[in-house]
Amino acid sequence: MSDVVEKTLTALPGLFESQTGAAKITNRLRQLIKSITELTSKHEEENLIKRELSAIKEQVSSPNTTMKQMREIMVRAMYCEMLGYDASFTYIHAIKLAQQGGVLEKRVGYLAVSLFLNEGHELLLLLVNTVLKDLQSTNLIEVCMALTVVAQVFPKDMIPAVLPLVEDKLSHPKEIIRRKAVLALYKFYLIAPNQVQHIHAKFCKALSDKDPGVMASSLHIYLQLIRESPDSYKDLTGSFVTILKQVLGGKLPVDFNYHSVPAPWLQIQLLRILSLLGKEDQSTSELMYEVLDESLRRAEMNHNITYAILYECVKAVYTIHPKAELLEKAARCIGNFVLSPKINLKYLGLKALTYVVQHDAKLALQHQMTIIECLDHSDFTIKRETLELLFRITNAQNVTVIVEKMLDFLRSCNDEHTIIHLIGKVAELAEKFAPDNSWFIQTMNDVFSIGGDLLQQDVPNNFLRLLAEGSESKEEDDQLRLYAVESYLTVLKGHTSHLPQCFLQVMSWVLGEYAHLQESVDRREVIRLLTQLLDQRSVSSETRVWILSALTKIPEGQTDLILDLAESLSSSQDTVLRQQAQELRHLSQDSQLREWVLPRGAPWDGIEVDSSLSFLDGFVSEALAAGAAPYKPPHQRQEELCEDRALNLEPYSFSLPVSLSSCSITDRQSPTLLSVSSGLSGNSAELSQKAGSSTLILEGVKRVWGKDGYLPQKEATAPPVDEPSAAVQPASQQEAAERIEPRPEPSTQNQDKQQLASSLFVGLGVGSSVSLLGKSEAPPPRFRKKPRPHESSSSSGTSKRSSDSSSHSSRNTTDSFLYGSFPEEEPATSISTFDHTPKSTTANGLSQNKDTKEDRHANTSQILGGDMVIVRPSTIQDKHPPSVSSDLTALLPADLKDLPHSDVISLTSDPSLSLSSCRLFRDEALLLVIFISNCTETVIKDVAVQLTCEELKTASLRGNVMDCLEARSTSVCHYALLMDDPHTNVSLTGTVSYQTQPGHTNTLPFSGTLSTADFIRPLVVTTEEYGKLWLSLSHDVKQNLKLLTDAGDPLRTTLNALKDALQLHVVDIIGSEGIVACRLLSGAPCLLHCRVNGAALAMWLRSPHPALPDFILYHCQRALAHH
């Protein structure tokens, strides 16, 4: 292929001569390019393009410019834009060209539009009509162009305008049009999924199109749909398998062959779809074993593209429900990949291994020598992928070797993206598998100095938290801390100018907190080292704050040094520093104050944190009284800027008084806070808050403001320490050092490689293969830090994936229907009139719904007498005691029986009919099942149920019309209801019409209420996913809720109560915090972060939907109030 592009710019003159005729058209472009290629500097190019652009500008505005010239001008403009120069003045002309030109001009016009404009560009609106016109054109080329531009750039709001036309094209006789239409619809689906929901049937038709090309493009859509909800498309598995079989069998036209492989891209697509369908589903997987086997067999290793198919095949085999025979074949394939001399295949082999190693660790063992060779490969990508693989197989035994390899790689790597990605993994491994303290601290030192300021903030935060909170054993903690102190002192004694800020911050914090553990070191030395840092120019002002805070904590009796320092800083330009210097001076002079501010004995856990800052209430109310504007959290301010709508933070009377939310502490309202917060500067507090990662910093904050103003108080520092005897320390260090030593040095010698292999793959043997399957089964991590929510994937993952399964079934009847009974017998002549029958009581009943809600809950067991003539709409009737209810649920259709459901409750009744209902909680909708029972001994005819609710969408219904209902029998009809926009409660009304005698229609109205809670489903996420999601959500609400304190563990009790009342998923409960997730049917998620705050539960909700948190909060309040 290389000879294809042999001709280079040197051929330029010859090319000009060879062109005739058409050459004139693009003469200007030729000149432009010719002159550009002759240029030598960027500056000259700039000048030339500027001249060119002004020439273009002149030409486009000239009335004499013909369409054909315009076409040429547009190409020149495209060229300029490609080089990165702004030619926005031509955009409008591009649109004009597309609007007015002939086919050729139109083509250039559309092309220019799709290159110049993006989906949101306002000029695109001008194109909508042209696109509409062209879609209806009889010229195929015009239709094609219009479809292409629609798929490339089209304003989202305008989709409804073209949608019907594009849909029509699905049945166009030309397959190229059908194919493009399918892709255009796929694009619509991606940007506005709900607008194309109704055409799923047509997608299905496209899938079975007689043209394989159309079918192939429809796979794009199915791949996406199946990725989103595999369960809904299981029935298509058979079709996909058949298609793949036909492709494999060579049933497609020869045109589709590529290097004599039948339709390889189509195969790849199908294999991906199958693996999604077969994942964790044995019965579906069984359908595809045969075709996968055939696929593996047929793909003979002869061309690149067959490898592509094989790779997908192998992945599919390992994704679906396992079958030994296939796994064996797939493993052999992976071997071929890994051992292949072709580097691309090696890469894919490694990728496949990385994927497979989670299922079958032995495979990595088989290829250990190849893996080790790859470690020293000259290709960066291969190396990186190898490390990724090693990361997956790390265990406590091989961690030192693997981490060493990763660090080696990172030291020689200068790609920022890779560094960020890998260094986080190193930190994770170090924390999880560290064999001893010295290794851990040393590794973290490397992490900090290599990762530097690229590090994600949670790496240092996690590390500090681990040091600070410690594990169960105090002695071990202190040893770790001690080692850290020693190690940092050594580091600081060396060259410090190159150390990243983040490392300096970590070191100064640790020294500030724990330097006192090390008795052999002179405090003056520590102070001197830290002070030295302050003098360095490269140290940022944020780091200076950290250092000063550390200095505040260290000195006892070193007043002279400190006073000197405070003196020198008191003239600093930085106000924060200056203030800290002041504090420092005061504290060092007044030892009593010091003792009070920094009590050296208080344990970490005992620190009481008033994160609501209630002590500021007085100050705030004074300020408010003095006319200050009330505080608004940043997101709210932002929102108000964007739109004139404010989030209502206190929507319901239920709320406890809102205390200032904890986020105000991170808001730099009072700069003093910054300096007060000990070693953890305010800035990092803000960062960690933003990252949603922890409240580490808040814990250090104590009373800062008092009645008299600022109380120069500091957080308590380390717990009292039983200083380990000096004799013990060296011994432990020595031991640690010895443990590091036998780290094998990699060399090209084969023997060394063998040795490396044995150290890398230790613990991967047959017996212990489990240890790397799930990290959960790995030996207990050395550092068992107190877990937190939002933690990054690190920490002992055992309890993380607690899956919530059956919160549905335990639901009680809170907030369910209200039942008024309206036993009216109002004869009507025909069914068609029942809509018009006035039902005054209905409205009445509805208006009372809300009021009676609370009562009803208390009275659920109350059964009124069987007197059917009561005409009191507000009366609560529960005619079916539980025993009857369970009878009714037996009538549920088989496919619904297994769904979690509410109790069956009577809706209404009259002498002939009685209606009961039951709510079934399906994942994507709420099923409202209505049981219609014939209470008489005669057949009731023409029964029809009609249900209306404005706020809800009815997705489907079944069985709402019956010709006849036998005597003493019950019929079931059900509605699938969707809630797109949350409402607190929605009321629904309905009527049943029936005929007891021919020509005599009775109507029976009913009504009820559904609450948002019925539409909430648990959102099962891992803590890690939760953390990510949390950050991406914009709307949040905070509120303090009642904490159920009657049981041993208030948080757990409260969350369980909430989980039972609403269908929430408790993701994790750690210490005094819990994270909970739910979503509105299959729509917007809502994340809840709960923290015990004194006697209250501080709840923080986030969702992409602006109103959803409010409603969920409301229901939480209710649930807790009822408890």
Partner: protein, 160 residues
């Protein structure tokens, strides 16, 4: 899905850039520069895949490239595309260009930018692979060429 298709020469001069996702003008230029920087320093006989740089989406995205004489063809794709599949797609693209331009060279790409874009549009539509069958792509492209030629002929006739 394909996020971007970039062609640049050995000196990093862009010869074609097509983005299927919206980036600002500046970001696009930065992406081109960064991609060139990443790709150009790689040896000839190492693998054709590369983790994306910082700009074009981080670890989700991948660069898949081929180097032909003076030109780099780079496809930036997300994880839903098959690496080897895209690699062969580049091959199909180049072979198609070769057939359409009869021995394609860098200059063809410059002087017939619109044509190259149109050929590409027949292969990839809105970031999705539309057609991988070379003869089909050429048929579509030639239909347009014919139109163009007839126009030129008409113009020549008129001028006679």
């Amino acid at each position: 899905m394909i996020k971007a298709i970039l062609i640049f020469n050995n000196h990093g001069k862009p010869r074609l850039s097509k983005f299927y996702e919206h980036y600002t003008e500046d970001t696009e230029q930065q992406i081109i520069r960064e991609t060139f920087h990443l790709v150009s320093k790689r040896d000839e006989n190492i693998c054709n895949f590369l983790e994306g740089g910082l700009l074009i989406g981080g670890s989700e995205n991948k660069l898949i490239y081929r180097h032909y004489a003076t030109l780099y063809f780079v496809f930036c794709v997300d994880s839903s595309e098959s690496e080897l599949g895209i690699l062969d797609l580049i091959q199909v693209f180049v072979e198609t260009l070769d057939k359409c331009f009869e021995n394609v060279c860098e200059l063809d790409l410059i002087f017939h930018m619109d044509k190259v874009h149109n050929i590409l549009a027949e292969m990839v539509m809105g970031g999705m692979v539309l057609e991988t069958n070379m003869s089909e792509i050429i048929t579509q492209a030639e239909a347009h060429n014919k139109m163009e030629k007839s126009e030129v002929r008409a113009a020549l006739l008129r001028s006679d």
